[in-house]
Symmetry: C2
């Protein structure tokens, strides 16, 4: 997100809504003891500190399309941030990650809690995992609840529920495909990489928030469809840029390691392009090794550069941005929305974190 | 559930509704490849074969209280069965179980799938766990969606959403407390055991389904509250009986091992009573050992019998049934509902599986 979108106002509002929601839940939790209260505190932390891309997109589409019910859009915006929180938490369970953005995540925080209470390593780790499974379920349930409780007619509520349903259904498909891809060790192929990105991230992160904002504002079908096409393409561009940054970014700016994706053997577009060149013979033996060191990672990075895989991926991300922008420019969406979304899509390939 | 409730008609209807729902989702899943289709098939299997206690209670309360909208009650009944499916699946993730009712569960089925595709043990297990996390999220989302889409007024939908919300909130608290109890290795105390049972099982299994059926039928507040009090007491009785069967039941009838709870070190009422007697010195060194053998299990069983812990737990379950029945007999609930629920509560302590 660049500053051409007034991020600050959106983010402040979303943060305030989430704080209010978690304040209520934390008080409720106190009736169930200190561990449950701690779980809700940890869940609130897990939902904070992000870029708030999804709720910002909900609000952007809603207000640009003439929506004026700030209470309703706040709820929908919050629902998409909570959905993201839930997916991130369960993604970490699946990957057995205990840190995120340089801090202990929920599993990490509860494992630390166990160790402070004198529990052994295995017990502490099991407690951490249990806490993360439950916290993800709570965030997912809150997301559903927030949409279901909206005070709008069935003509709005049912399409919103369909968008939420599609977000969950398609993201789960993408996550399963992603895990299967790495585990089965299949040679990465660009079409399959792109469809996995679209399913796992683009639909719930860009397509669905924009469409939800538009539906709530009473937009017509053609506008909603144009936002959907834009969202899938821009969402894929974002994720391609993410995968590039995950290997070539500055760790200080990213706040995460640029070796983790390589150790995990993640099937990215970078790898799909490299797999069509001689460089694959250099990369494949190193990729997915848990003991990959910095020298090995540099070797992979050099092979990705020299083979042209890096520049092909950058180019592919730019093409997605161009196509995404074309979809909205050729629509009858309001010009200020087109302009804001164009900036958003372009920021995807220009960002450094 | 005894046969005095006409189980068959309820169960056939619930099974038919679930089959119809999963048929639609399986077709949707085919667009996302064979693994995702298999995940939905496995999820459907996970939701089948149970006793359908929760949806039966929804229907029982609804029809006895004068409800006549079979479409709506079917949806609410299905939502509670799906909620149960989701909790069971994520409970298995938390416990690292790969079998349920003598069959591979979702994690087990996907790990087998990985091995058949030539994936190593660690990769297959990781895939199984990922599949179970995602399947639980899908079942949980379906449960929420089913209530949210009900074609009823806000005066009914909002209280139903509150009941669903409480089910998730309190069950997660109970599950976290249960895990913490076993991991921290605290000496079991009966009050804490009972509150954990109530939170983890009684609320979502008995209280909430009965109240949801009643709310949907337009019952008054006093009736709904009486059903809530009955539900918590009867639900605890059911779970006390479950814990007894889990150690003293016939494995053939139960379809599960009667040593697993002992190896896990589960903090049940049996253990809480034993912990107040000299028998605890015999039990404690054996309880929670992963290598506990049949001789050790028999030693624990003998200590539980001889110390009076078994008979105290049986008595406690019976007292809960008596109190539960008192709550509905002293209410103005319809007599046929009181009679059916009395049979239901009594069956809790008489069953063998």
């Amino acid at each position: 997100m660049t500053d051409t979108i007034d991020r600050t106002a959106h983010i402040d509002e979303i943060d305030a809504q989430l704080r209010a929601l978690f304040a209520v839940e934390r008080v409720r939790a106190t009736a169930y003891g200190e561990h449950y209260t701690a779980l809700w505190e940890t869940l609130e932390q897990a939902s904070s500190g992000g870029k708030r891309i999804r709720p910002t997109l909900v609000r952007l589409a809603y207000f640009a399309l003439g929506g004026r019910n700030t209470g309703a859009v706040d709820q929908v915006a919050v629902a998409f941030e909570l959905l993201h929180t839930a997916f991130v938490i369960h993604d970490d369970v699946i990957d057995h990650d205990t840190r995120r953005r340089g801090q202990p995540n929920i599993a990490g925080a509860f494992a630390d809690r166990g160790r402070r209470l004198g529990v052994d390593e295995a017990g502490s780790d099991a407690w951490g995992e249990a806490a993360a499974v439950l916290a993800g379920d709570l965030a997912l349930s809150l997301s559903h609840r927030t949409i279901a409780r909206l005070d709008v007619g069935a003509d709005i509520r049912l399409p919103l529920l369909d968008i939420l349903d599609r977000s969950v259904f398609v993201s789960a498909a993408g996550e399963l495909a992603d895990v299967a891809y790495a585990i089965l060790g299949d040679r990465p192929v660009i079409d399959r990489v792109l469809s996995t990105l679209e399913q796992k991230t683009a639909v719930y992160s860009v397509e669905a928030p924009l469409q939800a904002g538009a539906v709530l504002a009473g937009a017509d079908t053609r506008q909603i469809e144009a936002l959907g096409r834009f969202g899938r393409l821009a969402g894929v561009a974002f994720q391609l840029a993410d995968d590039i940054l995950g290997v070539f970014g500055e760790e200080n700016e990213l706040g995460k390691s640029t070796i983790a994706d390589l150790r995990e053997g993640k099937r990215t577009a970078l790898m799909a392009f490299a797999a069509t060149t001689d460089a694959w013979a250099r990369i494949e033996p190193l990729l997915g090794s848990a003991s990959l060191d910095e020298a090995g990672a540099d070797e992979i990075r050099a092979a990705l550069r020299e083979s042209g895989a890096l520049s092909a991926t950058v180019e592919l991300a730019r093409e997605h941005v161009t196509l995404a922008v074309f979809e909205i420019e050729s629509s009858d969406l309001p010009r200020d929305l087109v302009s804001a979304l164009t900036d958003f899509a372009r920021s995807a390939v220009e960002r450094t974190r």
